[in-house]
């Protein structure tokens, strides 16, 4: 044991030094302009029994101080790194996908769960990665999947219930986040350095293609974005 102690000490020091150089990037994304109102989704009778609540589309989920939810924020030019934390889960609850936007690392296995007593199919339609489509007829059935290549964003949908769809952002590293209901995000564990932070909102990314900012991270950094809704065509 006494021979191991120096090595353990060195390892602990190295680890704390690494943590000391890993920072975080926080920020808020706000929406400028008035979006179209969300559309009510008429559920099928069987789904209506499972989910009696009013269900709408989720194109613009706007919270406190015009904070925009469901924006996938990631570092464009970070080095490839393994995932941090547990495997992500995409769940089917009340005939809706939760969460609406999910982030995974390339090659990282993520779980797809059916929490409903209703048959769903899980159909991913990526442009770069391999498409898949499988059924989940049983309640609490869990399948694991992964994507091999970076792609922002991959759509996953249920063809049995046409209103069910969600998106997965696939990047080569774990430095991403999805804004919460008030538009806030935090990307933790980022090594110091220069990066480009990209904010990708599904509905407006086409009209806001340059929504990215350079950041020189030294510990912590704050980067806010404003997503603007263009004038109607």
């Amino acid at each position: 044991m006494k021979y191991c102690l120096p090595y353990l000490t060195v390892a602990a020091l190295a680890g704390s030094l690494h943590l000391a150089s890993a920072g975080e990037i926080t920020g808020k994304i706000t929406l400028k302009g008035t979006p179209k109102p969300e559309v009510d989704i008429p559920l099928t009778p069987s789904c209506g029994k499972i989910n009696p609540n009013k269900v709408t589309t989720r194109h613009y989920v706007v919270g406190k101080d015009n904070g925009l939810a469901n924006v996938f924020v990631y570092l464009k030019d970070a080095k490839a790194a393994p995932p941090a934390g547990e495997a992500q889960m995409l769940d089917q609850v009340g005939c809706m996908y939760e969460p609406y936007i999910l982030g995974v690392v390339t090659g990282q296995k993520f779980k797809v769960k059916n929490s409903d007593p209703e048959l769903h199919n899980v159909h991913a339609t990526p442009k770069i990665n391999k498409e898949f489509n499988f059924g989940q007829p049983l309640k609490d059935q869990i399948n694991e999947k992964s994507f091999d290549q970076a792609e922002v964003l991959v759509r996953v949908k249920c063809d049995v219930h046409a209103w069910m769809f969600a998106y997965i952002g696939v990047v080569d590293h774990p430095y991403f986040a999805v804004t919460d209901k008030d538009g806030n995000f935090k990307i933790a564990g980022v090594p110091d350095g220069k990066y480009t932070v990209v904010a990708y909102h599904l509905k407006t990314h086409g009209a806001n293609p340059g929504l990215s900012q350079a950041v020189d991270l030294k510990g912590t950094a704050k980067q806010d974005f404003t997503v603007e809704i263009p004038a109607a065509p």
Binding site: T57, H59, N121, N133, V160, W163, G206, A207
Partner: protein, 353 residues
């Protein structure tokens, strides 16, 4: 084995098969209109079940449309097998027997194509599947026509061969244009992008829509899609505009042809009456096309648009075949040198002035 060209029950069965095929096109149209083409991930099983034993309690959502489609398709396949065998055993005309074999091959190929569309997850196979469905419907309808007593009696009208010859090519040409329109429509539907242009008669408020990158981005941003439709592209907008232009061309072509048939053949002729029915169908199709846009592509309206499109194609094929038949029946001197395509009874020689 005694063969004949006059088989009443065979003809009735052919008509029944054509009607069943029309129902299949309808049910198949519902699948795409509801975005349910991939609701059953496996084939030929259904969620692991033998498709004929899939529990009814599981026919939920999009599965109802896709699974029903497979069952009806199996029924049409069986009917086609029976028709092909019946033709082979009982039909005197060799070319018609082989037409039954071609129909059988087509329906088998169509079934495999549909299955591959699901297992390979290829939208383009869906386009071929849709196009072949229309052609198969036309083929079965033609077989029904050829086995009819009306066709056998060869009730040719007295008309100049030149008029009939011209008409058969004109009918064929416009029917070809309708086929192009149907394939274009199938290609549009299988983009799975919803309505590429949400208004009519304008397109995004203009007579010709802006199709630059920025405008298309704004169109996508402004959409509030409820289902998982793909983003629209400039190419899809171009397809929709081509579809509208082709619809206009078809409408005026069919209206003109109906007038020509009436003038040349008289209002009581079969061709003139059928041309008028064709025009009514095309007018209805145009209204349905507009309604598809105005109802934001309501599934039932869009599916009816598909079904009427199929009928329009079949009527065009019938007109071209009947006009060709009249041309041959009125031209014994021509039939002497041309191949005997239809084995028609020869019309009496014309009295010379």
């Amino acid at each position: 084995m005694t063969r004949s060209s006059d088989n009443r029950w065979l003809h009735r069965f052919a008509v029944f098969t054509a009607a069943a095929t029309f129902c299949l096109i309808w049910v198949g149209g519902l699948v795409t209109s509801h975005g349910a083409g991939m609701a059953v991930p496996d084939w030929p099983t259904t969620y692991g079940y033998n498709m004929f034993f899939f529990p009814f309690s599981k026919w939920v959502g999009g599965i109802f449309y896709e699974h029903s489609h497979r069952l009806v398709a199996s029924g049409v396949g069986l009917l086609t097998v029976i028709l092909a065998v019946w033709l082979w055993m009982k039909e005197e005309r060799r070319w018609l027997r082989w037409l039954g074999v071609i129909a059988l091959g087509a329906v088998i190929f169509q079934g495999v194509l549909g299955g591959l569309r699901v297992t390979q997850m290829k939208d383009v196979l869906g386009v071929f599947h849709a196009a072949l469905a229309q052609l198969f419907f036309a083929l079965i309808s033609a077989i029904a026509l050829f086995t009819s007593r009306w066709w056998l009696r060869g009730e040719a009208q007295k008309m100049s061969i030149y008029a009939a010859s011209g008409l058969r090519y004109l009918f064929a040409l416009v029917t070809g244009l309708i086929l192009f329109q149907l394939i274009l429509g199938a290609a549009m539907r299988h983009q799975h992008a919803g309505l590429a242009i949400p208004d009519f008669p304008t397109a995004y408020g203009r007579w010709w829509p802006a199709m630059d990158v920025e405008s298309v981005a704004r169109y996508n941003q402004a959409r509030g899609e409820v289902t998982a439709t793909n983003p629209i592209t400039a190419f899809q907008i171009g397809m929709q505009m081509t579809h509208r232009i082709a619809a206009f061309l078809i409408l005026i072509s069919v209206a003109w042809l109906a007038g020509v048939a009436r003038r040349r053949l008289g209002g009581q002729s079969v061709l003139a009456k059928l041309s008028l029915a064709w025009l009514a169908l095309i007018l209805a199709q145009a209204v349905l096309g507009v309604a598809t846009i105005w109802t934001n592509k309501a599934a039932d309206v869009a599916t009816l648009h598909v079904a009427v499109g199929a009928l329009s194609l079949v009527i065009g094929v019938m007109l071209a075949l009947i006009a060709a038949k009249h041309a041959r029946a009125n031209a014994p001197e021509v039939s002497a040198v041309l191949p005997s395509t239809f084995d028609l009874p020869q019309a009496p020689a014309k009295a010379t002035a």
